[in-house]
C-alpha cells in the first residue's frame, strides 16, 4: 500500500531512490496546529508529504518562509511535541521504523539519533567541553576517557578543534558566531547520530563562517544522512545532492539538485530559484 | 521506559507542590471559619456585626465599633497614601531619569521591608506625642494610625501603579506629544487615564494592606472600644482586637476573636478578588 502511494504521488523520485535504502521517509505526512482559542483557524503547516532521504546524502530543502520547511525538520525528532496544539498525520519512517505510529518509542533516543542544529547558534550556559559532552552524558556516558575522546573527535569532525582545543574549559559563550555554530554541529556529532538536520544554520552568520559550515557539511556527508533547510538557494545548489522545493506546506518538486536548478519541472520552482518571489 | 515512569512521577510531585498554595488557603479558610462561625451563629449574624458591645467577661460579642474603626483608619490611610503614592509612581514612571529611578525605587520598596513593629514604635515615640502636644487629644488616634499606615502602604500602591503606568504603550505618549502637549499634559490626559484600572487595583490592594495591618496599629490606636467620630479619637480595629486579647483569651472569648478574624478575612478576600477583577479587565 505504501509503495503504491509513493508510486502515485512521488513519481519523480522513484527512478533514482531505492526505497529500501531510504534513511528517512515521509509517508503522506502532514502537520497541523490546532487554534489557541476555540473558534480560531487550524493552521496546516504541512500536508501530504511523500519524500525519501537516502543515507550518506545531503537533501537541501528550499522554499519561502512559512512553506513548512522548519515544521518538517522538527517533526523528525518530534520537537514539535513541545507545541501543545501540534497534530501530526501520516508518519515518518526512520530505517523503516515509524516515528509516530509506535506508541512506546523512546523520544530521547530518537532525538539522539536525529540531531538538530538551529538557525541561531544556541550555546548552553556551560563550558565548551560540557556543551559537547551534554548529549553523551544524558545518554548515560560518564566515563571521562570516553567523553574526552568523543569531545575531541566531534570537535575535529566539525572543524573547530584547532580553534578551541586550548580552552575547552572556558565558557562556550566566549566563542564567535561562526565558531558557535560549528560547536553546535560538534554537539550533535558527539551523540553519534545517524541523521543531522540543520535549520537555516548559516542565516545568522557572515560569508566566511558560512563557507566553513558548508565545507563541514560536505565532509560529513560520507558518514551521515543530512537534511539542510536553507533560505539561501545558492547554498542549496552548492551543498545538496538532492533538493526539495516546498511551498505553502506542500512538496512541489524533489529531484537531483542539478536537475532542479537546470530544468525544473514546475513553473513555481523555476520562479523561486530565479528569485522572482520568496 | 524507566525514564518515562520517572518523568511522570516527577510531574505528579510538582503538581502536588503547585497545589500547596491553594491548599494553604483552603486550610486557613476552613480553620478560621470552623473556630469563628459558632460564635457568629450564637450571637446572630446581624447582632455580631452591628451590635455595639464587646464584653468578653459577660459573653457579649459584637464588633461594630471595630469594623467602623478599621474602615476609619483605612480611609485615613488612603487619604494620606493615595495622592502621595500616585505622585511617586508618576514621577518614577514618567519623569525620573535612569539614575534617580535606580535610587528612589528601591528606597520606596525598602519602606515595605521595615518591620511594622518598628513603624508602630516610631509612631508611639514621635507621632503620638506630636499630635498630643500640637493638635490635641491624647495622641493615640485615628490620625496617628492613618499617617503611619499611609506610609506603610505607600510602597504597595506606588509599585503597582508604577507597573500600570509603564505598561501604557509609548504610542499614547507620542500621540499626545505630537499634538503639541507638554510631557505633563501627555501624562495627565493620556497616560494616567490609560493606566486607570491598574491604579485602581493598586489602591484596592493598598486598602487591603491597611485593613490587615496589626502591629503598628495596636501601638498607636489607643484601642478604646468606641466608634471614632473625630480624627483625634482613639480607635480599636479588627486586627488589634484580635492581637490584644489573643494572649489571654480562652473558650468562647477565643472563638469570638476567631469570629472577628472571619469578618476581617472576608473583607480582605473581597478586596483582593475585586482587585484581580479590575486588573483582568485592564488586561483586556
Amino acid at each position: 500500500m505504501k509503495e503504491f502511494m509513493d508510486t502515485n504521488l512521488n513519481k519523480n523520485n522513484m527512478s533514482e531512490t531505492n526505497l529500501s535504502a531510504a534513511k528517512v521517509r515521509f509517508d503522506n505526512f502532514s502537520v497541523s496546529f490546532l487554534p489557541d482559542k476555540p473558534g480560531g483557524a487550524i493552521v496546516e503547516a504541512l500536508s501530504g508529504i511523500n519524500l525519501s532521504v537516502g543515507d550518506k546524502k545531503i537533501l537541501s530543502v528550499i522554499g519561502p518562509s512559512r512553506s513548512g520547511k522548519t515544521s518538517l525538520l522538527r517533526s523528525v525528532n518530534r520537537l514539535n511535541d513541545l507545541h501543545p496544539n501540534f497534530v501530526p498525520g501520516g508518519d515518518i519512517l526512520i530505517d523503516g521504523a515509524p516515528v509516530y505510529a509506535s506508541s512506546n518509542i523512546d523520544i530521547t533516543a530518537l532525538r539522539r539519533k536525529a540531531g538538530m542544529v538551529f538557525a541561531r547558534p544556541v550555546i548552553l550556559p556551560l563550558s565548551i567541553y560540557e556543551n559537547i559532552a551534554y548529549g553523551p552524558r544524558l545518554a548515560g556516558n560518564n566515563s571521562k576517557p570516553s567523553l574526552d575522546e568523543l569531545v575531541e573527535s566531534a570537535l575535529k569532525d566539525a572543524y573547530v578543534w584547532e580553534e578551541v582545543k586550548d580552552r575547552l574549559q572556558s565558557p562556550a559563550a566566549s566563542l564567535s558566531g561562526g565558531q558557535r555554530q560549528r560547536l553546535c554541529i560538534a554537539r550533535v556529532l558527539s551523540m553519534r547520530p545517524d541523521i543531522i538536520m540543520l535549520d537555516e544554520p548559516t542565516s545568522a552568520l557572515d560569508p566566511v563562517s558560512t563557507a566553513k559550515i558548508e565545507e563541514t557539511l560536505i565532509a560529513l556527508k560520507s558518514k551521515y544522512c543530512i537534511i539542510l533547510v536553507t533560505n539561501n538557494v545558492k547554498q542549496a545548489a552548492r551543498v545538496g545532492d538532492k533538493t526539495a522545493f516546498f511551498l505553502m506546506g506542500r512538496l512541489i518538486e524533489h529531484d537531483d539538485t542539478s536537475k532542479i536548478f537546470t530544468t525544473p519541472r514546475d513553473e513555481r520552482t523555476e520562479n523561486y530559484i530565479t528569485g522572482r518571489f520568496g | 521506559m524507566k525514564q518515562a515512569v520517572r518523568e511522570a512521577f516527577i510531574s505528579k510531585i510538582l503538581l502536588l507542590t503547585a497545589l500547596s498554595s491553594i491548599g494553604a488557603l483552603t486550610l486557613i479558610t476552613v480553620f478560621i471559619f470552623a473556630e469563628g462561625l459558632p460564635v457568629i451563629f450564637k450571637t446572630g449574624f446581624f447582632d455580631f456585626i452591628f451590635g455595639m458591645k464587646w464584653k468578653p467577661s459577660r459573653g457579649i460579642f459584637s464588633i461594630f465599633p471595630m469594623i467602623a474603626g478599621s474602615f476609619a483608619v483605612m480611609a485615613g490611610a488612603m487619604l494620606v497614601s493615595v495622592p502621595f503614592a500616585l505622585c511617586c509612581s508618576i514621577y518614577l514612571a514618567e519623569f525620573a531619569g535612569r539614575t534617580t529611578r535606580a535610587i528612589v525605587k528601591p528606597a520606596i520598596e525598602l519602606l515595605a521591608g521595615i518591620p511594622s513593629v518598628v513603624y508602630g514604635f516610631i509612631g508611639v515615640t514621635v507621632l503620638v506625642p506630636f499630635i498630643k502636644n500640637n493638635i490635641g487629644g491624647n495622641g493615640f488616634s485615628v490620625l496617628g494610625c492613618s499617617i503611619v499606615l499611609g506610609i506603610m502602604v505607600l510602597p504597595t500602591i506606588t509599585s503597582i501603579s508604577y507597573d500600570a503606568l509603564r505598561a501604557v504603550p509609548d504610542s499614547y505618549r507620542e500621540g499626545a506629544l505630537a499634538l503639541g502637549a507638554t510631557r505633563w499634559q501627555a501624562v495627565k490626559m493620556a497616560v494616567v487615564p490609560a493606566a486607570g484600572s491598574g491604579i485602581i487595583a493598586a489602591v484596592i490592594l493598598g486598602m487591603g494592606r491597611a485593613i490587615g495591618e496589626t502591629m503598628a496599629v495596636i501601638m498607636i490606636a489607643g484601642n478604646s472600644l468606641i466608634i471614632p467620630l473625630s480624627p483625634l479619637d482613639p480607635v480599636r480595629t479588627l486586627t488589634s482586637n484580635i492581637a490584644l486579647e489573643m494572649g489571654y483569651a480562652s473558650g468562647m472569648h477565643r472563638q469570638a476573636l476567631f469570629a472577628t478574624g472571619v469578618i476581617l478575612f472576608v473583607i480582605i478576600m473581597a478586596l483582593n478578588i475585586l482587585a484581580t477583577r479590575v486588573i483582568k479587565r485592564a488586561v483586556r
Binding site: 530521547t108 | 511617586c88 525598602l110 507638554t182 476581617l264
Partner: protein, 277 residues
Amino acid sequence: MNSRTEEKIAVNILRLAALSAIAVLLFVIIYVAYKGAGSLTMTFIFENPRDMGREGGIFSAIVSTFYLAALSSMIATPLGVGTAIYLCEYTTESAVTKIVRFGSDCLAGVPSIIFGLFGFVLFVIYLKLGWCLLSGALTMTFMILPTIIRTSEEAIKSVSYELREASYSLGATRWQTITKIVLPQAVPGIITGVILGVGRSISETAAVIFTAGSALATPESILESGRTLAVHFYIIAREGISMERAFATALVLIIFILLINIITYALMNKFIAGKKT
C-alpha cells in the same frame, strides 16, 4: 497659566513627593540608629537577655530568629520553586494554573494576624505542637510562599526558550532540561525570592507571637518556644521594659533588613545583566 509653567509646577510637586518618601525612609533609619546606637554593643548582641529584657542582650532572640527564618525558607523554597516549575514547564494555561495562581495571589493578601490565628489553631492546638519554632516556621512558610512562587516564576520564565529546545534536541528529558539548564540559569532570581522571604520572617511579629510563643531562653530544638527579634522588640517596647534596649533591638532589625535588601538588589542587577549577554 501657560502649559510650560504648569508642567514645571507639576513635575516639582511629583519630585517633592518622591523626595519625601526618601526623607521618611531616612528619618526612620537615622532616628532608630541615633536612639539605638548607644546601646548596641558587642555584649548586647552576644549576651542573653536577663530580667525580662531589662538587662543583658538579645543573643537568644537572634538565635530564635535565625531558626525561624532558616526553617521556614527551607520548607517554602521547594514548595515555591516546585510550583513555579510546574506553572512554567509542565502545563499551559488551564483550570489548574488558574486555581494555583488564585491560591497564591490570595495567600499573598492574607493579613499576618490571620496567619497567626490559623497557625495557632492548626499547629499549636490541633496538631499539638504547642508554641514552638516549628509551629512558627510552618506558619511563616505559608506566608512567604507567594513571594517565592512569584520570583521563581519570573526567574524561570526569563530563561530563553531556545535553550530548552537545544537541550531537548540533544536527547534530554523535561526534568533533565530543568535541572541541568533552566534552574542553574534561574538560581539568582530564585535566591532573591528566598532572601525576601527571610526578610519577612525576620520582621514578622503578629503571625509569630501566637505560634512560636515568646520564651526568652535560647531554644535548644525547633520544638521549643523561642522569641524572635521582632517579637522581643515588640514586647519590651510595648511594655516599656527598656527604651534603650528596644531601640537597639530595632536597630539590629533594621540592619538585617537593609542587608537583605542590598543583597537582593545586587543579585537582581547581576541577574538582569547576565540575561542581556
